[in-house]
């Protein structure tokens, strides 16, 4: 058993305890992986078919403010903030000058002078450190990890849930608005990481429990349920979305990890630009691929990927059982030189057993985010 002494807890910890959760350490936080009476498959299915409520308060929060804050962030992170307007959010990456990936994160463009960032739990301090170090005097970068909770309402019934608690619902995908709720302000975002239509809500830390209660009642009313990080992982894997530490890391570039679309290649400046442009020019040495099992079995991270001759051509970065497809699925970094394309059959070495897989184009399951 891991020691839980040093782990941070969500503002909703006591709420989880009421739901017979299985807790596990995640990114330095003690978070619910699944709930009693549910389980990963039931929670996953609720999100795909009705609606699920997640606590993702472990996610980082950071504020960049000051004259030209957006232009400053745009000169550091990979994606092009110039492509969006205030009130919109963007998936972006924090790369190193060597081209590795410090983190993938969401940037919420509040105004030319204010950007709100949501990095991954374990990487927030590092992203904040790098930005603060690079920031001119007029711009302040503040780690707000413990200032806000983050709740995600995801699934086809998510609009009904938000309407039931009196929050705005009429938002385009990747847009957000600050809304008055219960005498406080909640940031309502049309974002998520499940592939379903959904919202992410950012209340003040102290206001998170009341918001959770209201949302859970509405979610239950719609036939949905609370969902843990176990279901969040199977949902994002079905979409082929990267998870930092698996598909992206300090040794995996955005292009390799399938996140090249989140790089503003035409921008004059961002961290890692020269190395990443050169890599793009010469084609990355390996690329993230989606594998769907043809045999019965469950892929896991770190399994060798073999070609038809049994030669190792890559390694899985994530693997799980897809509750939607009822088959094993995996994400894998595969050598470009192997010439693997969608439709090619490869094999995984599952502890000495062979698991045949078909390379497919992502996602595994149709996206309904819009």
């Amino acid at each position: 058993m891991n020691s839980t002494d040093d782990l941070r807890r969500s503002p909703l910890h006591a709420k989880h305890v009421e739901l017979d959760p299985t807790f596990a350490p995640f990114g330095g936080w003690e978070m619910p992986i699944q709930y009693g009476g549910g389980g990963v498959v039931a929670e996953h299915t609720a999100v795909r078919e009705t609606v699920g409520l997640f606590d993702v308060s472990h996610l980082g929060k950071a504020l960049v403010v000051g004259e030209g804050a957006a232009a400053f962030v745009n000169s550091c992170l990979t994606n092009d903030l110039g492509k969006i307007v205030p009130g919109k959010a963007q998936y972006t990456l924090c790369a190193t000058e060597e081209g590795g990936t410090v983190d993938d994160l969401i940037a919420y463009l509040v105004s030319d002078d204010e950007v709100f960032l949501v990095p991954n739990a374990a990487n927030t301090a590092e992203v904040v450190r790098r930005l603060a170090e690079a920031a001119p005097e007029s711009i302040t970068v503040t780690d707000q990890h413990g200032d806000y909770g983050v709740l995600a309402v995801q699934g086809p019934k998510s609009t009904e849930v938000l309407a039931a608690v009196g929050l705005p619902t009429d938002l385009e995908y990747m847009s957000f608005v600050d809304s008055e709720w219960n005498g406080t302000t909640v940031r309502v975002c049309r974002t998520g990481y499940t592939g379903e239509h959904g919202y992410e809500l950012v209340p003040r830390w102290a206001d998170a429990p009341a918001l959770w209660d209201a949302l859970l009642a509405a979610v239950t009313e719609q036939g949905g349920r609370a969902a843990g990080l176990g279901a969040r992982d199977t949902l994002r894997t079905e979409m082929g979305y990267p998870l930092h530490g698996h598909e992206l890391s300090s040794s995996i570039t955005p292009s390799q990890g399938g996140a090249g679309w989140a790089v503003g290649w035409k921008k004059d400046a961002f961290w890692g630009r020269d190395v990443l442009l050169a890599e793009r020019e010469n084609k990355p040495a390996r690329r993230l691929r989606c594998l769907r099992a043809l045999d019965r079995g469950v892929p896991r991270a770190g399994m060798p990927v073999l070609d038809a001759d049994g030669q190792k051509i890559g390694e899985t970065t994530s693997g799980t059982f897809s509750p939607t497809l009822r088959t094993g699925i995996a994400l894998a970094l595969i050598d470009t030189a192997a010439g693997i394309e969608a439709g090619t059959e490869v094999a995984l070495d599952v502890r000495g057993r062979t698991l045949r897989c078909e390379v497919i184009k992502p996602p595994f399951v149709e996206s309904h985010v819009k």
């Binding site: 299985t22 990963v40 498959v41 079995g297 059982f321």
Partner: protein, 126 residues
């Protein structure tokens, strides 16, 4: 709270054993299935093969993890529960009934297993 029926024998690897005539039926305990979470795939043992106590004979995969299946008594695997191929979730819904996994014909008795009281003491400490 995990159940552990009185009439069964148990192992420290969280398997149960039930003597049925000259064979012993094996499954995993309620505690084990709770720890594993949703079982999604069972690699069943091969029928007709002989094993020694503690040999790994298969695997149980859940959404979260994989765990090995051990043979708690030496002997020959006489039959396996093929219903688990299509419905591995039987291990979660009925671990002591429909979710049984395989049967062994013991070659030297079934000594060394825990009774329900000893097994409950073990899981209470985990």
């Amino acid at each position: 709270m995990a159940e552990a029926p009185e009439q069964l024998k148990y192992t420290e690897e969280h398997e149960w054993a039930e003597v049925k005539g000259d064979t012993v039926r094996i499954g995993i305990t309620d505690y084990a299935q709770q720890q594993l979470g949703d079982v999604v795939f069972v690699q069943l043992p091969e029928e007709g093969k002989e094993f020694a106590v503690g040999d790994s004979v298969g695997e149980i995969e859940s959404t979260k993890s994989v765990s090995e299946l051990y043979v708690p008594v030496a002997g020959e695997i006489t039959t396996v529960n093929t219903a688990l191929d299509a419905s591995p979730e039987l291990i979660n819904s009925d671990p002591y009934g429909e979710g049984w996994i395989f049967e062994v014909k013991p070659s030297d008795g079934i000594d060394g297993l825990l009774d329900a009281t000893a097994y409950k003491a073990l899981t209470d400490n985990e």
